[in-house]
């Protein structure tokens, strides 16, 4: 025993005193003071969440494209439910008694939470219900906003808004059940700008659910902050016109302003009416759209379709050849209905032979570009074909092909350019060469691109050597600039002089003499440069492809058009591209070209194979 042992009594005394203090206080608040019982009965506070309206979306010319409409959710607080006239209630809401009973039974668990009973009742129903709501304790209305579109277009571009699900809440802690979130397109990528900030209102409520006023004079209330408005780079008229042109076709149109990388229109056809994915009918409509496996309206071809570029790839081939020094402007190759070498043959159409570079582009000679590709891969500068192939591949990648462009779309795909390892696996290392991979010469084989990438490299050619990452938002309310990555120039390591040559060839393809491949794209006062493509399709009719930009000097628009099963580049893609260019640069279609427009509008390849 030590000298301080008696202190145990003091310590025990402290314990006892503290416990006694707690017990006395508990006795006071639990047994003597009745105010807490009243508070509990009155249930005191209810926090009402105030939902902000999402930001608006304007087109590049300030036209309002996406805005909001009011919507009302009928909420139920099972704990506050009292007897009510269910027949009248059902007739207001136009539901049957069975549904009411089921609805109440469903939300009884857990009893103390307020839950939506019927989501998004119509404004008309709300108007009638609002006056009589006092008769139905336990029911109240929560107002939200839903998206509305001024034009039924650009569904893929805008994306849509949906309710968050449990999986998402686990990932994104900022969201709670019942919140809306942008799911794809602009709505998805710019969710943080558009969503705004929720507010709250704390109300004093009695046991019958009646609001008695703000809690503590609204000390804890917070206004909702409306989301930021966006100006997108889309030209609404051009987008609408393009969608009209494409309505009977499967494929895609992407138009870009070359100097800025701004996407002027982005069309994936067939599309759907964006209003279908708004509000209560969203889930049903979404399922219906998803089940359409023939037209695949939900599939955003502009960003996700992996197409072979076909002959539209030839300008790039020419640029690489020129830069590597294996050809020059004067190089000419002969073509006898195709390219033949050691068991390999690539057919070509009937044209004059031999051709020089500019005519090779003008007339899209397959043999010419097979020779160019062969020279690139067999360049004596490199010891082995795979080394040369890697050099070639790096050039191609620098055009933004075979990789995500990291535009402001979340669901962009990367396309495909086979790496060396891919061929090594098939043929064995050093067992393949230019001839084994000759399809690449004409944009076939192990090369797949998205329409967005095609438009982007067209912009790079139009700019004579650089591109700006394509993007769809021009400015955001309250922000001085958009993301830095959308203003940066990506330079391609190819001399401007070489670009000038290739541009001259593309000019001739549209505006050249006999044998030109895209004469149909020629416009009266605007010099269009373009390149057709006929992408081989082993499953049916070939695809019609066209890339173009205009005017030749100081280009304002670069465009890629892909029409599935359209056969020749000149048959569908080139006319559509030329109409889009004409519409954008002159606002109208010249009378002497109305027949082109009519031919496209009257054609229909929706169900062709």
């Amino acid at each position: 025993m030590d000298q301080f042992a008696s202190r145990r009594n003091i310590i025990a005394g402290i314990f006892i005193l503290a416990a006694l203090a707690l017990i006395i206080r508990l006795f006071y608040i639990q047994v003597i003071d009745s105010s807490y019982k009243l508070s509990a009965e009155n249930n005191s506070q209810r926090v009402e969440i105030l939902y902000p309206a999402r930001g608006l979306i304007f087109d590049r010319n300030g036209k309002l494209l996406v805005f909001n409409q009011p919507s009302y959710d009928l909420m139920i607080a099972p704990y506050e439910l009292r007897q009510f006239d269910s027949v009248e209630f059902c007739s207001i809401l136009r539901i049957d008694l069975k549904r009411l009973r089921e609805g109440i039974a469903r939300v009884r668990i857990p009893r103390y939470r307020r839950e939506p009973f019927i989501k998004q009742i119509s404004p008309e129903t709300y108007a009638i219900l609002q006056e009589k709501l006092y008769k139905y304790p336990g029911f109240y209305v929560r107002s939200r906003t839903l998206r509305r579109y001024s034009k039924e277009m650009a569904a893929h571009l805008f994306g849509y808004v949906g309710e968050v699900d449990e999986k998402l809440i686990e990932k994104e802690k900022a969201y709670v059940m019942g919140d809306y979130i942008g799911i794809s397109g602009i709505e998805g990528y710019y969710e943080n700008m558009l969503k705004g900030e929720k507010g709250q209102e704390v109300l004093l409520v009695d046991v019958h659910g009646r609001v008695k006023g703000p809690y503590q004079d609204g000390r804890f209330d917070k206004d909702a902050v409306v989301g930021k408005d966006l100006v997108c780079t889309i030209d609404a008229d051009l987008q609408e016109y393009g969608e009209t042109l494409m309505k009977n076709y499967r494929g895609s149109v992407v138009a870009i302003e070359p100097s800025t990388g701004e996407i002027l229109s982005l069309i994936s056809a067939p599309s759907y009416n964006p209003s279908l994915l708004v509000g209560r009918s969203r889930t049903g409509n979404y399922t219906r759209l998803r089940q359409d496996t023939l037209l695949k309206p939900l599939y955003n071809r502009a960003l996700m379709a992996n197409y072979p570029p076909g002959s539209t790839f030839k300008p790039i081939q020419a640029l690489i050849g020129l830069q590597e020094g294996v050809i020059s402007e004067g190089s000419s190759f002969s073509c006898n209905m195709g390219f033949y070498a050691r068991g390999v043959s690539v057919g070509c159409h009937d044209h004059k032979s031999p051709l020089t570079l500019l005519h090779g582009i003008e007339q899209s000679c397959n043999a010419y570009f097979c020779n160019v590709y062969k020279r690139i891969i067999e360049n004596p500068k490199y010891s082995r074909p795979d080394e040369a192939y890697n050099v070639w591949r790096d050039y191609v990648l620098s055009f933004g092909i075979g990789q995500k462009l990291s535009s402001d779309f979340t669901n962009e795909l990367r396309g495909f350019i086979a790496p060396v390892s891919y061929y090594d696996k098939y043929y064995g290392s050093n067992h393949w060469n230019a001839l084994t991979t000759i399809s690449l010469a004409i944009g076939q084989g192990e090369i797949l691109v998205t329409p967005l990438q095609m438009a982007n490299w067209t912009a790079a050619i139009a700019n004579r050597g650089y591109y700006v990452t394509p993007h769809v938002v021009k400015s955001i309310e309250g922000m001085d600039t958009i993301d830095h990555k959308f203003t940066q120039k990506h330079f391609i390591e190819i001399d401007t002089a070489n670009f000038r040559l290739v541009v001259a060839g593309m000019d001739m393809a549209v505006n050249g003499g006999p044998g030109r491949t895209a004469g149909i794209a020629q416009l009266q006062n605007i010099r269009v440069c373009g390149k057709t493509g006929t992408a081989q399709n082993p499953h049916g009719t070939d695809h019609s492809v066209f890339i173009a930009f205009a005017p030749k000097d100081n280009p304002k628009i670069a465009i890629s058009v892909y029409v599935e099963h359209g056969e020749w580049g000149a048959s569908y893609a080139a006319p559509i591209a030329s109409l889009m260019i004409e519409k954008y640069l002159t606002d109208s279609i010249a009378p002497n070209r109305k027949w082109v427009e009519a031919r496209i509008l009257n054609g229909n390849l929706l169900y062709s194979k």
């Binding site: 314990f15 006892i16 707690l22 508990l26 608040i29 019982k37 704990y79 857990p110």
Partner: protein
Amino acid sequence: MIDRLNITEEIDWTTVGLYLLLVVFGWMNIFASSYNEQFTSIFNIRQNYGDQLLWILVSMVMIVVLFAVDHRFFHYFAYVIYGFSILLLLSVLAFGVTINNSQSWIRIFGFGFQPSEFVKIATALAIARYLSGYNIKLWTWKSMGIVILLIGLPVGLIALQPDWGTALVFSCFILLMYREGMPGWILALTLFVTMLFLMTMLISGTSVIIVLIIIAIAGFGLISRKLKYALVAAAVIGITFYIMHKLFPVMHFEPNNYYELIAALVLSSLIFLVVSAIKKIKNVLILLLLLYGFIGFTYSVDYVFHEILKPHQQTRVNILLGKETDIRDVGYNLNQSKIAIGSGGFFGKGYLQGTQTKLDFVPEQSTDFIFCTVGEEWGFFGSALAIILYLGLLIRIVYIAERQRSQFARIYGYGVASILFFHFAINIAMTIGLFPVIGIPLPYFSYGGSSMLAFTLLLFVLVRLDSVRKKYIK
């Protein structure tokens, strides 16, 4: 080296019994607080109560493990355990997960775990080890310095997380230090100043002064051992206050209870001094000086708070004290918590019949505010029962500590009592508005794996040490 002991004889079954009662009662309340008709299986570990059941089982396994470990382990490895726990705290700061604005969690094998819960045990062990050393007297500069260092290191690291509630827990070791020789006046002063500080922050200045005056008069009555003097003094102050109250409006002063009371006090002090000088009554001057000293203290706390601190600092202090906060936060919790407990009445609403503690009304209701469920569903009867169970456990721990022959075991025992007492008293006090909401769990009740396991280990290390008390003298 494992000594075979006759387990049934040597284990303190009273402690084990109290522990089991608390754990079972606690779990029943967690079940009630998260109960809804959708999930009825108690083994559903996605629900709080299922998860907690799992941790209770883990705790039971740990108890068995404790008894398999050589009892000398805790003495020999006290510093190692302490060092390891400091390392854990450092790693929390480096790789911890942030929950509720505090980086206090580590994820190991998918389980979140809070090292700060275990550091309390390690600190108690380290202090016990140090103070039980040969010829160590607590009340010397050197050993006080070392003990303060042993406590200060984890406190500092936990404050960095920042988790002020848990950091404050370590102040409980003042009880242990008192038992081991710290002068009693330090304990008394600490308790008094803490109370005064809280009173200044939480209630009006006038009430604080009234309380101080009452204490002074009561103290005077005790020291002079004359009830008559105390009553006269009280009457004098009462009368002067009444005069001041009437006088202020006449003199065109703003009516203000605080200043009226101060004026009354000054006037009556003069009367007291004169009377005591004539009648030769002792201690009046000293008592008055103390009284004015403490009033000065409350005034300067108030002044520093309102005049020197910037508004955002004030808010921070207020949040810590649970006074002014967002409705979703502490202030709201406290209000709802009081309503829930208060609505319980004498016998409560019945098990699983609580309305306030269900889902919406009391946030954190299965962790820091678990006592709300006790209060609401079991009423005053159940709440008092829980408090008596805790008190029983605490007194039993003191009893066990005092019967140890090993100094190490005894000091550790006081460490256990101090920690449990702090958690128990402060947690319940904060749910009923007697103490600021500092967010610490109620041992064996609050939902949370780390705290369940840590409090079990804390207690059963002592039970383990106690089980061999007859065999060894250290």
